[in-house]
């Protein structure tokens, strides 16, 4: 098999994986974070706690009141994707006033406007209305905190019929402005499925050996609680009738692996991180 024939481009992913294994009618189960979370909880998959759910403008005053004395929290559009509309908030400066993850100040008025925009569907892939999900801000643990403490790194596991196929860690850098998005200059770490060891580190398509901000050695790092993490990914994938998924997992310092969300159309950049096409991993299965 030539190298290129092992590659999954957009067309092949859509035809052979997304359309073939993910019936459209089940998308809402994962596209809606609140719904997905309910299902994950139902089958005993660990997830971050839910601080509040806001169904509409009527609930907004109560929501803001409840948040006013929270130390830190994360507010998300339930139907959002690609990080759009997510505010990572904390620590609190004074009641009703916080510092955002990037360092900017957020006051109650700005929070109000943002929350209203979420409800109007501004971040919701074409939906006209949306709900708000509020979660505690996850504090990373283990190497996730030691090596990449600035932003929240997450582990992406691709599963096919519940079986993990590929995994990578996405690490935010200073130049990616806290976002772990690989196009933004974030790092991608290829993770060996068997051992949970980092085998390669890639930034903007180029191999690197050290973290560009703190110089930490990347290759060879072993991820904590690896078998448990894989097991969480399997169970998370089994919670919905979708055959091809991207499971996003973070590592909480106290609670261990927590599933953030499921993606029914996971991206293909992971192939660049591993330096191999998805098909060669599927074959190995």
């Amino acid at each position: 098999m030539s190298r290129w024939s092992s590659l999954f481009g957009m067309n092949r992913r859509n035809v052979e994986l997304v359309h073939a294994r993910n019936p459209r009618r089940y998308y809402p189960l994962v596209d809606d974070k609140i719904v997905a979370k309910e299902r994950l909880v139902a089958v005993g998959v660990p997830v971050p706690a839910t601080l509040a759910v806001c169904e509409g403008l009527r609930d907004l005053p109560a929501l803001l009141e409840g948040l006013a004395d929270q130390e830190s929290f994360v507010i998300k559009p339930s139907l959002g994707g690609g990080g759009h509309g997510i505010l990572v908030v904390g620590e609190r400066v004074e009641p009703g006033c916080w510092r955002k993850a990037g360092g900017e100040i957020l006051d109650l008025e700005a929070l109000h406007e943002h929350a209203a925009n979420i409800l109007f569907g501004a971040f919701s892939r074409g939906a006209m209305t949306d709900r708000i999900l509020v979660e505690p801000r996850v504090t990373p643990g283990g190497v996730y905190a030691e090596m990449w403490g600035d932003g929240l790194s997450d582990l992406r596991v691709i599963t096919l019929e519940r079986q993990p196929v590929m995994a990578m860690v996405r690490v935010p850098t200073a130049s990616s402005e806290g976002r772990a998005n690989l196009h933004q200059g974030g790092l991608g770490l290829a993770v060996d499925l068997e051992t949970g060891r980092v085998t390669r580190a890639v930034r903007n398509g180029r191999l690197i050996s050290r973290h560009p901000d703190n110089g930490a050695q990347l290759e060879g790092i072993c991820l904590p609680a690896w078998q448990e993490t894989l097991d969480v990914a399997r169970r998370a994938a089994g919670s919905v009738p979708l055959g091809y998924l991207g499971v996003d997992i973070v590592h909480d310092k106290d609670l261990g692996p927590l599933v953030l969300e499921l993606n029914a159309r996971p991206g293909l950049e992971i192939q660049n991180v591993h330096g191999r096409g998805l098909a060669s991993f599927l074959e190995a299965l």
Binding site: W4, M10, N11, H84, A122, G205, N272, G277
Partner: protein, 520 residues
Amino acid sequence: MRRDTLVRACIAALLVLPAMLAGAKMARFDSLAEDLLPRRQYDVAVQVGLDGHGEAARVRTFAPRSDWHQQVVSEESIGPLPFSTSDVGLNREAVWSGGQVPDGVQAEYRFSVLTSDVVYALPEGLPVPAAYPAALASDLAATEVVQVDSPEIAAALTLAGADSGDIASRLTAIHTFVEGLGSRPFKGTTDALTTLRLGEASCNGKSRLFVAMARAAGIPARLVGGVILESGHKRTSHQWVEAYVAGHWVPYCPTNGYAAELPSTYLALYRGDEALFRHTSDIDFDYAFDIHTQMVPSPNARQTMGPLNLWALFDRVGLPFALLRTLLMLPAGALVVVFFRNVVGLPTFGTFLPALIAAASGATGLAWGLVGLLIVTLGVVLVRALVQRFGLLHSPSLAILLTAVVGWLLLVSLFADAVGLASLAQVALFPIAVLAIAAERLYLAWVERGPRDALRDLAGTLVVILGCYVVMNSLALQLIVLGFPEVLLVIVAADLYLGRWTGIRVSEYLRFRPAMGVVA
């Protein structure tokens, strides 16, 4: 896989079905594909302007007749002056007349014609008849400006070698002789003798000389007046001749060198030595021809539509044919978009925005379409940035954006009209809602992913518009789609194929170089 088999079967059906339909059509009408293909239609406006000074005024011109060469499909008059047509001899006189006509009156007589090339094969060996029916007497007679009996004409006939032989060879000799004279755009009427003496003349002089020589050689001949059809605005009319050969009037144009043939660009308006316009004196009369051309389905193709006769429907509802053509070409544009997105991997704003913009540019011309798009997007993005400052909620800010697109389009149109850029003024035809959404996307891309990404997507959009425009305005494709609308099924087959195509996009060969170990 089952799905693949199903899709393949559908593709096969979608390829076979249109072939069968087209075959059936051709068999049923016993016609060649050529007869089903669209024809070029000329839309002619005869525009007149006059100052009536509040008194009675009358303008007489000629309206075209349908014949073997030209077919008048519609006509109408526009303007305040009463207009009527009536048959007078061989011609249809068209008359505007009014009792108390004010100054500065504009009136238009519009008609659409389908024309075809006509070529005659003249039989050899036909002798010049000794006598003709009495009705042809005037086509053999001498007049003040067609000096048939002049010895100089007789001498010219000998010189040309047209004084003996059969009809065909005499006419050819006369044609060659007259065509060989110089051409010169003289103003006004030039008679036959003057043309001969000067050795040069404009179309009317040469045509009169031809007529005089033909009549002198014993062949009935007459002048024909009309216009040469070409897109644009013009005042020039044209004259040529017809010679009577064994019951047929055979066209010759010694000015442009057409012997026994008439190209489809010639439109005959009258026969005989007439003036194209006659009018009440002292009315400061002016006129012009405004000519446009478009492809329309052939009469045969119209019939083959049966209950699906879209052309008849559009006629009834009063929608312009151009709209139907645009609609029928839109699937082709959409296929181009699919190709660029799924095979090339070029990012665009809005899935079918490029096809819609290309369709709208059909009226403005591509360059102005693109300029219009850039101006509009720029304006809208600026408004979007402004709206952002108010911290408005999403839907209301989109509504403002839509309004901004409308306002900005009208403003651009007004401005373009004021400075005389008629084409740019057509930007108001742009799909407004699609533009608003595209501008919104452009703005978001700019803010979220930076100007580089946004400009890249914009460039991609422009390239795809170009592709759509080229394909949707390709004459060949329009001919095929208008003549055989079942081709749309073939386009659907192509969409199906691309819909299951799992190949790597061109852009992905770049994107996945790291995955494939190709290091930049």
